[in-house]
């Protein structure tokens, strides 16, 4: 009986292509196609596997390859994507500007809209996505708009867009299809619809078996349902492949919830150590996880504020504003917490966790009615909002 080829098979093919293109890629008779393909495959391997440390190596490979091509537009596009994943938003913009054809390309325009979103310019982001969709309804553009619309409270509309994105895909694009199913599942999860979320995750797994991203979301679902041991097993399996301090933190939090202090401390300390080593290497992509860690795992408000401020300096949007607010709350600086949660709320984002934290902050500020209202709104959106969740 035939089954979907899946993650492992695809990673093997990518590895084979990397080996095949490696020898010729940087020889004297440099072939631009092979160079681009080689670097692209390195990017794909790191990106699909979620191996953020490997993306740093990809950055270097791109920089090494750029001088070898007289028309390196594709490499600059890769550079923009890589920088985005590493949260180096200034580098994203610089890469887009390096070659006019990159800046003006559809992919370039989508990345610019993504930057708008990250910088809290939601209208501009929406316009950017809609503008590109006016030319071609690509699945990637549809998915981006779906995410934005979902954040703004149009859940049904977001799901329809995700579904339309799926309809664009052929049987040759099962990884993309699985990813979209995960997004649809997460949309349900974020609204407490666990059974619906599970169905989407199962469908994703049927489409593209062995994909860690699916497993990660299933583990989150299990954790939210109180099935801590099952969730821990999955997270440990994923984290064992390569360093995933965010998952190690999740394992620690699950042990906490299960009432097992010693393994909880062990895993949380592992996570913290990895975050801080990353920062020492000059990386910035774990700042938001450090905020999360200090605010909720360690309940260290001062350090939470420190990292939240750094993250916000890179990109000010509802998420970083709300994170800073929550950090101030943990640090007992309620006035500042109210200020920043108000800024996050002004985005008009509809998010259960945002409302839940707003409720806590407002109550702490002595505004009981507003606090209660926010909590109610949060629970109406997602009855399980206070339960286990992962910072994605």
């Amino acid at each position: 009986m035939a089954t979907a080829a899946g993650y492992a098979a695809e990673m093997r093919r990518i590895d084979e292509d990397i080996a095949k293109t490696e020898a010729a890629a940087f020889s004297d008779l440099a072939d631009p196609d092979r160079i681009t393909r080689h670097v692209y495959r390195l990017y794909q391997k790191a990106s699909i596997s979620g191996h953020l440390a490997a993306l740093t190596a990809v950055e270097r490979a791109i920089d090494d390859a750029l001088p070898l091509l007289s028309n390196p537009a594709d490499l600059y596009l890769l550079k923009a994507h890589t920088a985005f994943k590493l949260h180096k938003l200034a580098d994203v913009h610089a890469a887009l500007l390096a070659v006019p054809s990159v800046y003006d390309s559809e992919e370039g325009r989508l990345i610019r809209a993504d930057l708008d979103f990250q910088h809290g310019h939601y209208q501009a982001a929406e316009s950017g996505y809609v503008d590109v969709l006016g030319h071609e309804r690509s699945w990637g553009a549809l998915a981006r708009l779906a995410y934005l619309r979902g954040k703004m409270g149009d859940v049904a509309g977001a799901d329809r867009l995700y579904e339309e994105a799926e309809d664009q895909l052929t049987a040759k694009e099962m990884r993309a299809y699985a990813w979209l199913e995960v997004q649809r599942g997460f949309l349900d999860f974020a609204h407490g619809q666990h059974d619906a979320a599970r169905l989407h995750y199962r469908r994703a797994d049927a489409a593209y078996p062995g994909y860690w991203l699916i497993d990660e979301h299933i583990a989150e679902l299990l954790g939210a349902e109180g099935r801590y041991d099952e969730a821990i097993v999955i997270y440990q399996r994923i984290a064992a492949t390569f360093g995933r301090p965010d998952l190690e933190q999740a394992i620690g939090e699950l042990y906490d919830l299960a009432g097992r202090d010693r393994p909880a401390v062990y895993w949380k300390e592992r996570a913290l150590s990895a975050y801080l080593q990353s920062v020492q290497r000059g990386e910035v992509h774990y700042y938001h996880h450090l905020v999360d860690y200090y605010a909720d795992a360690a309940e260290d408000g001062a350090d939470a504020v420190k990292w939240a401020s750094k993250d916000l300096q890179m990109r000010e949007n509802f998420a970083t504003q709300a994170a800073l607010a929550w950090a101030f709350y943990r640090d007992g600086r309620i006035g500042d917490a109210v200020h920043w949660i108000d800024r996050a709320l002004a985005s008009d984002v509809v998010d259960a966790l945002l409302y839940f934290r707003a409720g806590e902050i407002y109550s702490a500020a002595g505004h009981e009615i507003e606090g209660r209202n926010f909590r109610e709104r949060a629970l109406n959106l997602n009855p399980t909002v206070a339960g286990f969740h992962v910072h994605h």
Partner: protein, 521 residues
Amino acid sequence: MADHNDPNAVNSIFSDIDVSAADLYDIFGFPVDDRSGVEKVVIALTFAAVPQTGVFDTDMLYRILIAPDRRIARSGGDDTSLAGFLTYLEGVKEKYLKILRPSEVRVTVDHNNRANLRFIGFPGGSFSASIATNEVSSVQSPGGHSINVFVGGRDDAFFNDLPGFFRSINYAPQFYHVPHTMPDVRELKIPKTFLELEGNDLFNYDPQFPQWGHGMKKELPAGPLTWNGNRFKKDQNGNFRFVYSGQDARAGQNCHAIILELPLTFLTATSDEHRIVNTWGESWVLKAAHKVETIPDDPLWIEHPHVLLDALNLDEELKKYKLVDTDGQAFADAALSEREDNRQLGANNFWLAPHFIKRLGHLGWGFGPSITALGLACAFDHDNSPVSVHRTYSSVLEAFPRVSKILFQELNMPDDSWDRKGLAIPLRRAVDVFIPNVNSIDMDTTGTWPFGRRLEDQVATRFLSTFLDMSASLNGKRYHVELLNDPALWNSAPIEPKTPPNPLKNDKEFLADFPYLAEPW
């Protein structure tokens, strides 16, 4: 809370999606030569041999659509005005949207490499058959018709100097590594031409890189991708340089083929009246959502058995697929539709007619002067331009007068051998050939192009002949569709290399009997 999402976590930024199994190559069609028994027609749809010769992509669905029809009787006073053209289009539209009800053969190949065929809507009956691939099979219709079928790997029957064609239209991706961020860099704004343009270093033959364009590509240079010259290139002997080489770019290459040999009485209940068999091919790829449903052991599949083929809901089957490619008339895509995804309309290409007129005008300004420079008469009025011109049209009204002769002139045949029965069959015109985009096989002819397409027809060169003035003569004989295939013409022309543009025959001999296409390499 999640603060960003990233479809590019999974996006193939540079499309590495293998869609080539959907890449249709050709559709051949001709009456079977042996007329002693039942009258039969051969239809062969060829496409990329992916994942490998003889092994098929199980996500694909191929359709061969067949619509028999009466031969159009043309009056002597055809209206060749724009109004007449529009009337012709209306007639085609009416016929294909309302009157003709094409039958079809659908083909998929399963994981055991068995081909599953569905014969749908034929007067001779609808039925299904499962056959082994890569071997000749015979299936029986409910009406007792015997149909020969082959689904498998073959030598590619297309013999053509594709790099030469791409050179003639200054098509950058054939010669350069074009970054994905430059999707508009395709046909550069340089005049189309059969003769090299002096100073067109972006495309002229480079003796230092003889394989350039034949698999080898250069880096796209910075700077303007244009040409500012004003003459054709000539060598020290005063010869033009041909953009074509006459070499077969498909030599030694394989294809996949669906080959059918069908009794005419299976296709139509009135074979005495329906002497034309119109046919075209389509490739469809399974949508991702339905791939999940077809994965065995997926509980969703079991919960939704309607995904199994239901003979009463065949359109439901097609909804699970995405149309990728169509094939009807040779070079309708490459030359006229410009390979755009949104122009894969198959027989319904009458919607593209305005584009065709403008495109033909654009090609005429390019090819026309190079035809004239060789001393040949051209059907396109290019105001005696001494060199090819890059001109485009935004208006059909503006383009139509220039192209009307090309559209409506009768395409002379080299002799009468095509007209087997000596019937008064009207010669075809370019407008008949390209709109609609189908292979229109005349059963009372040999099926040689444009009355069908036989395997041995050099259709690429015959396509070029549509730009010749068919009312002109050479050595006392009217121009005809085979003129440019004649080595004698090129031997006496002021050109190098002295060769017909495309090879004269396939790299392998075709078979005398079914399945006709040669064994694969």
